[in-house]
């Protein structure tokens, strides 16, 4: 018996047989922020065979309060999160093959990475990317586990293609202007609680204990003392465009993606949502004010500034990110504010 995993194999629903399965599996983890680093650590300690981590960002001081894998040294070196995670994970368990992919996840960049993946773990910070994961999961028949948190609130749900409803069955349209960690803040126990649910589900899937997979959506609020599970037996839609009979995988097309473009001759990137929005700029200004941005707002646009970077958001959702030519960075900043 392998000493390292002895306590996990003693847990009878996993056992020696389950451990063998875990070590043969390949998990793709999308996002290496708060949820991402906690998920990555748990999967690595559990001994998953291969872990691919995709992230577009680098480590900053404001991450350290909750993104458990990273250190002050990583901030000093401005390491990309995927790479920093890989280094720490190797020190925790060198038996796990960790692949760091530093890129912006789009339908086009993600699909080639999913060739031999058994499970997709969601640790992203926006619904646009989750809808892409959702469509790819259905197209390639790979289970995925939705996880999200903000403030003291968290939410998680397991999607098994061909069995459970998908995220698109639940959300007919992408919710706009939800709270994000940049507008609503975040405390670490909300992260840990989501990850506890996600990893329990992941272990069930990796050992192929399908019967035990949770058939409901879980939501909780650790500050307001709320916990609710919501059954999903009636929500699977036959006409769902992502998982139904006439499926088209709408989120894999370019027309449903957020677009970015560098503006000629200016140190500015324009970010454009797939469809025009109707933002409540006053509300957004209030949220941003409370989280360290200096904000100016008029009926037509909102201008916010933090750490020398300035973004102007128009009411229709279009934004200009000043002081950069980096489109990935601009999109990340936009989605960190608008979700």
């Amino acid at each position: 018996m392998n000493e390292r995993y002895s306590r996990q194999t003693l847990f009878s629903p996993i056992g020696e047989g389950g451990q063998v399965k875990i070590q043969q599996k390949h998990v793709l983890l999308l996002g290496a922020g708060a949820l991402g680093s906690a998920n990555a650590e748990a999967l690595t300690r559990a001994g998953v065979g291969k872990l691919t981590i995709v992230d577009r960002d680098y480590v900053e001081t404001s991450n350290l309060q909750r993104q458990q894998l990273y250190t002050e040294q990583d901030v000093e070196e401005k390491l990309p999160k995927a790479e920093a995670a890989k280094r720490h994970l190797h020190a925790i368990n060198h038996e796990v093959e960790v692949k760091a992919v530093i890129m912006d996840a789009t339908a086009q960049t993600l699909e080639p990475l999913l060739g031999h993946v058994d499970l997709i773990m969601d640790a992203t910070d926006n619904f646009e990317t989750r809808m892409i994961i959702n469509d790819l999961s259905q197209k390639l028949q790979i289970p995925w586990i939705y996880g999200a948190c903000v403030g003291s609130v968290g939410m998680t749900m397991t999607i098994l293609p061909g069995q459970t409803p998908c995220l698109h069955c639940l959300l007919k349209t992408i919710p706009i202007q939800g709270m994000t960690c940049d507008t609503g803040g975040i405390i670490s126990p909300a992260v840990t609680m989501v990850v506890a649910h996600q990893i329990a589900e992941a272990l069930k899937i990796l050992v192929e204990d399908w019967e035990s997979v949770r058939p409901s959506l879980v939501t909780f609020d650790l500050w307001r003392n709320q916990y609710q599970t919501v059954r999903l037996t009636k929500v699977k839609k036959k006409d769902c465009l992502s998982c139904g009979d006439q499926r088209t995988y709408p989120f894999l097309t370019l027309e449903n993606a957020t677009k970015t473009a560098v503006l000629c001759g200016r140190d500015t990137v324009q970010v454009r949502p797939p469809k025009p929005l109707k933002l409540q700029l006053e509300k957004l200004a209030k949220d941003l004010n409370g989280s360290g941005y200096s904000v100016k707002v008029n009926p037509f646009l909102l201008s916010c500034e933090k750490n020398g970077e300035r973004m102007v958001v128009f009411q229709d959702g279009r934004a200009l990110v000043h002081g950069t030519k980096n489109m990935v960075h601009a999109k990340a900043m936009y989605q960190s504010i608008l979700g």
């Binding site: 991402g36 989750r130 999200a148 919710p175 939800g178 975040i186 307001r224 709320q226 609710q228 919501v230």
Partner: protein
């Protein structure tokens, strides 16, 4: 009467997490409209709804004694 539960920031917006409201025979969408007018609750269009702990869409018809939970979708990570 319909029992309404409000989650996360909706609880703060209303100042309490539970209330009873007239709504027998209404759809979920109609109840949302009523809540919006009576309590000035914003953002109900995009919240998830559970009726008796079962996920429900806007067309679901409500009956006296039902418990309706409004749950804002969470996107951070």
């Amino acid at each position: 009467m319909i029992n309404v539960l409000l989650f996360a920031q909706l609880k703060d917006e209303l100042g309490k997490e539970a209330l009873s409201i007239e709504g027998n025979g209404m759809s979920v969408a109609q109840l949302k409209g009523k809540m919006k007018i009576e309590f000035q609750l914003e953002g109900l269009e995009t919240v998830m709804t559970a009726v008796n702990e079962e996920f429900a869409d806007d067309e679901t018809i409500l009956s006296d004694g039902d418990t309706v939970a409004f749950i804002p979708p969470v996107s951070g990570g």
